[in-house]
Amino acid sequence: MIEIGRRGRIIAWACAIPFLAVIFLFEVMPLAAVLTNSVFKEGVPSVLNYAEILGSRFYLGAFRVSFSISLLTALIALVVAFPIAIILRRMPGRVQDIILVFSNIGTNFTGYPLAFAFVILMGVSGSITLLLIEAGLVKDFNIYSTAGLVFVYSYFQILLGILLIFPALGAITPDIEEAAKLMGASRWLFWRRIGLPILAPSLAGALLLLFANAMGTYATAEALVGSGANLVTIRIGELTAGDVFSDPNLADTMATLLVIILIIPIVAAQFLLKPKDSNA
């Protein structure tokens, strides 16, 4: 840590004020508001919102579908992105840069533009769908479904996975691989005994981020299937802005439960993946 004097500390804090203000205004305040509103029902403090959600098959179903899609696409992304990132590590720097830039653009290409692109390509009359039907490879393909959502989510999840895993692979230096090779370890044994254990915390962190990313996705799903998909974010959107079912307090309760669902694995991972270093 850099040693700084009292004056330096004051200046450092002063410089951090705009950042801290943003954190407070756009993270702490909204979270506090969501938490507070979640325990109010029609202006009266109550836990009825929680009881309503936890007692409703419809809302619990939204959590189940969101959880399933998020977990599935996070796992797909991890499984697909991991070998891609390994191959990418072995490529020349220029190729790495191009693929990483492409991944970065792709990761941020979400919401309505992404949904529109998939509709054109893989919708009922999409060019790829028609080509596949023409070739006799599929009979029909419905992108406006849960399976379709998994497909579209996987697109940006895999690219995000590459961006998350690629830097972590820096921990596996070529000389570690060579040392293991000289000692008689096969490639498979190297990854099982050395590579994967080294990367486990990073992979778990990437899985959590991918899961959180999918859980929080709203615009892509809304654009593709509208309210037809029973997802937490779609339900929150309906309860916040819907004309018929508007209930902001219930939306806040769902948001709170969403935050809890995301916090639990993060805290668990912190405990489970804490390095078991010994100073003995």
């Binding site: 000389d175 060579e178 050395i194 100073n279």
Partner: protein
């Protein structure tokens, strides 16, 4: 036949030759040091011996067996890397046991070998520690122990001390030499540090642009550099070309001279210097005096030519000062004539 024989070994990266027509012999129980500037091909040569880089032509024989086309793991080689290459997810003991486990040895034998090596390397108190909690010196000791516990036919060390600070580096260098005497292993050691090369090497190969400029014992390399490049890299020679030699010592010759700073005597000028056969003398002006511990380094100008001269720094002597006039004397026997 030598224990390790490298014959006509060449390697290119595309159109660029890394090393060409390399011949090298390493005797059993000795350390051969490959020394040379960065990019001279010494590390790639070591990697070719290890089986981590395939040579384009030539053969590598270890203990009578041609290993040129064998996989790295089948060569019976232990390697110590510059940046340790320890497995960060394993403790010191687990790092040491890993290679033995691949040999499918019984657990009791693995435990015994690991424990003996841990004790030998003084790693006992840190045996359960992860690499991240070790100091640089401890990490390199673990890396060495991990290679030695496998009792390799040949130990390769790729600049193992260059990432360490000067004091630890010196200590580990001495420990390595002692360990080699005790265990008698055969090693090829790569470094760009000439002091390390001279201290550790039973035999030294000085590499320049992918070729050996000179191969020999430390005394031979230090005392009689074969070429200008070796003289410039090893030792701290005064290099004099024929024009300079004539200018300073009034001698005609056609080869360059390499003269060690300690081979030149310096003394206060005397009225009538006695000249004898094979002794060359010149008047000089002292331009600087540096105390290098037990040695005094005089920087002098002899008829416009800068020379450096080392004299023993005796406790009660009065050194000459900057600006003093002095006389230098050089014996012909101390001159190395360079081929180019």
């Amino acid at each position: 036949m030598s224990y390790v024989e490298i014959r006509n070994l060449s390697k290119r990266f595309g159109d660029t030759p890394v090393f060409e027509s390399i011949d090298l012999d390493v005797e059993k129980g000795s350390i051969c040091v490959l020394v040379g500037p960065s990019g001279c091909g010494k590390t790639t040569l070591l990697r070719a011996v290890a089986g981590l880089a395939a040579p384009d032509q030539g053969t590598i024989t270890i203990d009578g067996k041609d290993v040129t086309r064998l996989e790295a793991k089948q060569r019976g080689i232990g390697m110590v890397f510059q940046h340790y290459a320890l497995f960060p997810n394993m403790s010191v003991e687990q790092n040491l046991a890993f290679g033995l486990e691949q040999m499918k040895l019984p657990a009791t034998i693995i435990a015994k070998k690991v424990s003996r090596m841990v004790d030998l390397m003084g790693l006992g108190p840190r045996a359960k520690a992860r690499p991240a909690t070790l100091s640089g010196g401890q990490k390199q000791r673990v890396a060495l122990a991990r290679a030695l516990v496998l009792e390799p036919k040949l130990l390769l060390l790729d600049e193992p001390l260059s990432a360490l600070d000067a004091q630890i580096r010196k200590r580990l260098r001495d420990e390595l030499k002692k360990l080699q005497h005790e265990m008698g292993f055969t090693a090829i050691f790569v470094t760009h540090d000439q002091e390390e090369a001279l201290l550790l090497g039973d035999r030294i190969g000085v590499m320049q642009s992918g070729r050996f400029a000179q191969v020999g014992g430390p005394s031979e390399i230090y005392g009689h550099p074969a070429t200008m490049a070796v003289a410039k890299f090893i030792g701290d020679f005064n290099i004099l070309d024929p024009v300079t030699i004539e200018q300073v010592f009034n001698r005609k010759c056609c080869l360059n001279w390499a003269v060690h700073p300690q081979a030149i005597e310096i003394f206060r000028p005397i009225p009538k210097p006695k000249l004898s056969e094979g002794i060359y003398q010149a008047d000089v002006q002292i331009t600087g005096v540096h105390v290098l511990g037990c040695v005094l380094r005089y920087m002098v100008q002899a008829k416009g030519v800068a020379l450096k001269i080392d004299a023993l720094n005796r406790p009660n002597m009065t050194p000459m000062k900057k600006g003093d006039a002095a006389r230098i004397s050089l014996s012909a026997a101390d001159i190395c004539e360079l081929q180019n």
